[in-house]
């Protein structure tokens, strides 16, 4: 026993030592002034040759004529374009396993499953993502709650931006369940929950009447669903087909949830309905699909973001790692611009809108006085395939520099020495 506590003490001492040196190695400057070649503020007009003044990691002022205090540390970025870091409103990557195989597990949290050393987070930071909502996958009816993290930090705690954000509801039935059975399971869960809450309130009222103390808490397994009803949590409802969208709207209206729809590309046919209900949407990573026109028998290209854009739906893009380009948020935005989306709107769909959907727009999503100085420094226009993220600043601290990115170097440069197969005898 004594031995154990001694060990723990040493460990704690070592930890404290390591953290203190780490902090010393990367001091956060109190006052910073970033002189940028161009600033894409998102909230307002772009600023050429502007300055961003930062104090304690918070943006104090942005503009062309910002007076730089004498004690501010100046970062020269005249040949860079600076914009707010990208925000990913929905991902299930970087998790141990994204789906629990029991259908009703709203009490689970991705906080317990996020793997900080997963290369997914390293890649995300390299690609300019500064905040992401990690939610359970799309294969569980009530999948659990999400966690907003930044892709930087050695533990989940260090990565954390906001815990307990959003709850995933998936309308795609799994296994042998039919869509009828899937919906019925949801309705039954909700009616059981309402019964439970009524009984709970009754017990509370009874206790009050009898002037007894009442210390019963709500069942923790049900708490997230109760918080959905209280609007403390947002429902992220996944729809796999256009026919799932009316069901999601039924859920949204019956239970008065705060709702964000997470859509597969084939939900595009429900775009007018979604526009009418003014629900925010997270588009699938697959932005272009082909479908056969039944009248002409011709293959038609369907550009999903354009369909939603024209319908007037506010949406955010998401990414996946399966293909060229799709892993980058800027590429998703550029694809939409290619097919006619307004550039400013496309840029908002990878910064401000996702920040709003996941409730971090008070800190992130645009360059404005009062928001966090979480910025990306780009080598050229964000929608250009030749632009690289040169630096990432999180709350006034530079956390990524391309020139120090060893993994990227390895991926782009010719190996210096090729290992010849060795003789083994």
């Amino acid at each position: 026993m004594k031995y154990k506590s001694y060990k723990a003490f040493v460990a704690m001492f070592l930890m404290a030592f390591v953290t203190s040196t780490w902090v010393l190695a990367a001091p956060v400057r109190k006052k910073l002034a970033v002189k940028a070649g161009s600033i894409i503020t998102i909230s307002g007009a772009d600023i050429k040759n502007g300055t961003i003044l930062i104090e304690d990691g918070i943006i104090k002022a942005v503009g062309k004529k910002v007076e730089i205090p004498w004690d501010a540390f100046v970062i020269e970025a005249k040949d860079r374009i600076i914009m707010p870091g990208f925000v990913l409103a929905h991902t299930s990557s970087g998790l141990d396993r994204a789906n629990e195989n029991i259908p009703e597990v709203p009490f689970l949290s991705t906080f317990d499953s996020i793997d900080p050393v997963s290369s997914y987070f390293e890649d995300s930071l390299r690609d300019g993502v500064v905040a992401m909502l990690v939610l359970p996958g799309n294969s569980t009816l009530l999948g659990g709650t999400g966690t907003v993290v930044k892709p930087h930090g050695i533990t989940v705690e260090a990565m954390l931006i906001k815990r307990y954000t959003g709850l995933k509801i998936s309308l795609r039935p799994t296994g042998n369940t039919s869509r009828m059975g899937h919906m019925q399971r949801f309705r039954r869960y909700m009616s059981d929950l309402k019964d439970y809450l009524e009984e709970y309130e009754q017990r509370k009222a009874d206790a009050k009447e009898e002037k007894k103390p009442f210390d019963e808490e709500i069942d923790i397994r049900k708490q997230p669903m109760v918080d959905l009803l209280n609007k403390k949590l947002t429902a992220f409802i996944y729809c796999d087909r256009a026919s799932d969208v009316p069901k999601a709207i039924e859920i949204h209206e019956t239970h008065k949830f705060n709702t964000v729809l997470v859509l597969s590309p084939y939900c595009y046919q429900a775009a007018p309905l979604i526009a009418q209900k003014k629900l925010p949407v997270i588009l699938s990573p697959e932005l272009i699909i082909w479908e056969t026109n039944e009248e002409t028998n011709e293959e038609e290209m369907k550009v999903i973001p354009m369909i939603f854009h024209k319908a007037g739906v506010k949406f955010a893009f998401q990414t996946d790692t399966s293909q060229y380009g799709r892993r980058y948020l800027w590429y998703q935005a550029a694809t939409a611009v290619r097919h006619g989306m307004k550039r400013t709107e496309a840029l908002k769909s990878i910064t401000l809108y996702p920040a709003q959907f996941i409730g971090v727009d008070d800190r992130l999503g645009s360059i404005q006085a009062g928001k966090e100085a979480t910025l990306i420094f780009l080598t050229s226009d964000p929608l250009d395939a030749q632009a690289w993220v040169d630096k990432v600043m999180v709350a006034g601290e530079i956390v990524y520099e391309k020139e120090k990115d060893q993994r990227l170097k390895k991926l782009l440069e010719k190996p210096k020495e090729i290992q010849e197969p060795k003789d083994t005898d």
């Binding site: 082909w290 293959e299 060229y324 290619r338 250009d384 395939a385 991926l411 190996p415 090729i418």
Partner: protein, 404 residues
């Protein structure tokens, strides 16, 4: 009577050819023409007659009867050539009755109504090479087609273009070693190891050498292999790992056949050796990281700049969609190749003239030059910008796609 017939044909032909000629002259006026073969032409004209480029340049007089496509300040470039495209074929691409099937031709299975073709046109691909699948050691003969025409014959522009052979582990797929059942069982196919793949390739070419010497003409399979050794048909060898690439180069030297490397995931490791042997490379699909599926199994170490490193070493590199069903367009592939380090002009060539040369159809497609097929893309801007879109596609001088 005979005079009458001649007169009648003449009378019929005159108006027919007149209307034919009138409808078939098209002029494209464009702000910027990327010819690929030469410097870009500013404010130029492309004159198309009977599906071919009749003239190209500045100050060209446009005939009165020509229909004019005014591409204003847009960019015009040749249609893209995909040297490894998804075959427009219904059903399986792999013949499972044997491992050595050189006489199998994908041209016999083409489906002109395939949806794949229409998608390709919309992403700018106007010439494509398709081949049998990669699960036989010697899989068969590929063909160059255009995504147009009502019959397979109308699509084909070059037959028996290359012999698809496979040295990567894909050819092991589904093969099992005999354990409880007799080894004569039909379902136990060889090879099951990398050694056996190479042995089977060697044996095939060895037999072909003997066959050629014997002067016999009774084996169609060996006939094809013999014409490979005779340099009439090049070999497209699918390889991924560096060790395999080396073996492929050795084999080509041993049997003296014309080699083209397919996929070549680890080509960057042996770029100099490939360049030295002057072997062209048709790159496969691009992967960010190696994964666990069979496609990835061998590309254990990826380099995003594979295309760039190979090009720098002096290798002829074609960028392709890698015969993948998901629609990756060639212009995106080229844009990302440039992002990862390939020079801009080389990347443009890698989706146009280089694959055309590798496929042996550079006299017809790949650049905008007098006499070549009028396969033309009209773009809203720089072809390698993600925000640029394809506005119009002409195939043999006819508009086959127009963006709404």
């Amino acid at each position: 009577m005979r005079v009458n017939i001649i007169l009648l044909t003449f009378l019929l032909l005159v108006p027919a050819s007149a209307t034919f000629g009138k409808a078939d002259i098209t002029a494209i006026k464009a702000g910027r023409i990327l010819t690929i073969s030469d410097n870009p032409i500013m404010d130029g004209v492309i004159l198309i007659r009977d599906g071919k480029i009749a003239d190209i340049g500045t100050g060209i007089e446009i005939p009165e009867n020509a229909s004019i496509i005014d591409a204003g300040n847009k960019v015009v470039m040749p249609g893209l050539v995909d040297a490894s495209a998804v075959p427009p074929v219904r059903g399986d691409l792999n013949e499972q009755s044997d491992e050595i099937t050189p006489t199998i031709r994908i041209s016999t299975a083409l489906n002109p109504q395939s949806k794949v073709l229409k998608r390709m046109v919309q992403t700018g691909t106007t010439t494509l090479y398709v081949s049998p699948g990669w699960r036989n050691v010697i899989a068969g003969l590929g063909v160059v087609v255009k995504p147009t025409g009502k019959t397979p014959q109308e699509m084909i522009i070059k037959k028996d273009v290359a012999l698809t052979t496979v040295m990567s582990l894909d050819s092991l797929y589904g093969n099992r070693t005999p354990r409880s059942q007799p080894p004569t069982n039909f379902y136990f196919r060889r090879p099951t190891t990398r050694m056996a793949i190479i042995w089977m390739l060697r044996k095939g070419f060895f037999d072909a050498q003997g066959y050629a010497k014997s002067g016999k003409k009774d084996d169609p399979d060996l006939e094809i292999l013999a014409s490979v050794l005779d340099d009439k048909i090049p070999v497209r060898l699918n390889v991924r790992r560096a060790i395999n690439i080396r073996t492929a180069l050795k084999l080509a030297e041993e049997y003296d056949f014309q080699l083209i490397l397919d996929e070549c995931t680890e080509g960057y490791k042996v770029a100099e050796e490939i360049a030295q042997k002057q072997v062209p490379v048709v790159l496969g699909p691009f992967y960010y990281y190696p994964g666990s599926s069979s496609q990835f199994r061998e590309g254990r170490e990826v380099n995003w700049n594979n295309a760039g490193i190979l090009t720098k070493a002096g290798v002829k590199v074609a960028l392709t969609s890698g015969a993948q069903a998901q629609s990756i367009d060639l212009l995106t592939a080229a844009a990302f190749a440039v992002r990862h380090g390939m020079p801009y002009d080389k990347a443009l060539k890698a989706v146009t003239i280089i694959p055309a040369e590798i496929l042996g159809v550079a006299d017809k497609v790949g650049t905008l030059e007098k006499g070549k097929d009028a396969d033309i893309l009209i773009l809203s801007g720089d072809p390698l910008k993600v925000t640029t879109r394809i506005e119009q596609v002409l195939l043999n001088g006819k508009t086959v796609y127009k963006a709404q």
